[in-house]
């Protein structure tokens, strides 16, 4: 007789996508399956430069635990990442480096700007600080706060998950997307 489950008995399973089901088979669109898989296994690349990075550390640690969202593995190589999390002040001198990191990531890729500095330059309205990372790379979700609490970062992450879940498989080939990248000088 198998032992009754005692721990982890509140695990939440991802919902079954819409489709046609019968005995021993299920038919649904490929897009929905891919979206579901991608959404729950986002590999983030933390690009932490200041205090928002400290909040991110709390987000990644056991109390807030970003691993609950399928992001157990922080990848520190951009080539294996899906999500670039930019946390902290990005100076103008850091701009080209950030862009290079973004370019090294493989499609599909998403960007989360965490905190006032990454989103808009924040209090650093000065000659040396970039006024928002969207000047060099396209951003999908902005998280406000100075610094944002871990809950806010998680909320931003869940917004990213929503985008990933609902993204059309053809989006990255669309003219609109290419135009967006071209506006940043990315081919």
């Amino acid at each position: 007789m198998s032992r009754p489950v005692q721990y982890n008995n509140t695990v939440k399973f991802a919902g079954i996508p819409e489709g046609y089901m019968g005995d021993g088979f299920m038919a649904t669109s490929f897009e929905k399956v891919v979206g579901l898989a991608r959404k729950n296994s986002i590999w983030p690349l933390p690009f932490a430069t200041s205090c928002c990075g400290i909040e991110f550390m709390a987000t990644a640690a056991s109390h807030y635990d970003i691993a609950r969202f399928g992001s157990e593995r922080m990848s520190f190589s951009p080539r294996q990442c899906d999500l670039l999390m930019v946390m902290g002040t990005i100076s103008k001198k850091m701009g080209p480096i950030l862009k290079q990191v973004y370019l090294q990531m493989a499609e599909p890729r998403w960007v989360l700007a965490v905190g006032a500095c990454a989103s808009s330059g924040g209090i650093f309205d000065t000659y040396s600080v970039m006024q928002g990372i969207d000047q060099v790379i396209p951003v999908d979700v902005y998280v406000p706060g100075c610094p944002p609490r871990p809950e806010a970062i998680l909320d931003g992450f869940m917004k990213i998950q929503e985008l990933v879940h609902n993204e059309s498989l053809r989006r990255r080939q669309s003219d609109q997307y290419k135009e967006l990248l071209n506006s940043y000088g990315i081919q």
């Binding site: 103008k92 001198k93 924040g122 209090i123 000659y127 040396s128």
Partner: protein
């Protein structure tokens, strides 16, 4: 015998005479102004003299005095005698139109980065520096940001909301 400010001042005056001026001791730290052509000679003397022995360059930076016509830029050297734990400070002034000052890198290797930083922010041209390029700011920058020649920002700007940024 401990090294006192009076001994240092006497030795420097004996050596350089009228070329050093504006002697002062704010908070007990001997401070003076040197003519800009002899900055390295003063440092060399302070370094080599057996009794003085200022062998450590603590800091080097610039100040911009826009109203001080003809001598707008001031380069400040902080030296330290490690044996007696005595610090001194001396300044040279230069015209902002021709901000040439001799480099201290031949004497102190640590002056390399400090002079690059001073050049980066104030545009002081350190003559003889091996690699006088920007160190902290972006290479494309075509101005010297710490000079007091930039107007305050437009107070009517609305692209940044004061409520959000605590200004």
């Amino acid at each position: 015998m401990a090294l006192t400010n009076e001994i240092i001042q006497q030795k420097l005056t004996d050596k350089f005479g009228e070329q050093l001026s504006y002697w002062d001791q704010p908070y007990g730290m001997l401070t003076f102004v040197a003519e800009k052509d002899i900055n390295v000679k003063v440092m060399q003397f302070l370094y080599d003299d057996a009794e003085l022995g200022f062998t450590f360059l603590t800091d080097l930076q610039a100040v911009h005095y826009p109203d001080n016509k003809g001598a707008e830029l001031c380069v400040v050297y902080h030296l330290h005698n490690l044996r007696y734990n005595v610090r001194i400070r001396f300044k040279v002034f230069t015209d902002i139109a021709k901000p040439d000052v001799f480099t201290a890198t031949s004497l102190f290797a640590s002056a390399n980065f400090m002079e690059r930083e001073t050049y980066d922010f104030y545009g002081v041209n350190f003559v003889g520096h091996p690699n006088l390029i920007r160190i902290l700011n972006v290479d494309e920058m075509d101005y010297f940001p710490m000079r007091k020649e930039f107007p305050l920002e437009d107070q009517t700007r609305i692209d940044k909301d004061d409520d959000m940024f605590g200004r």
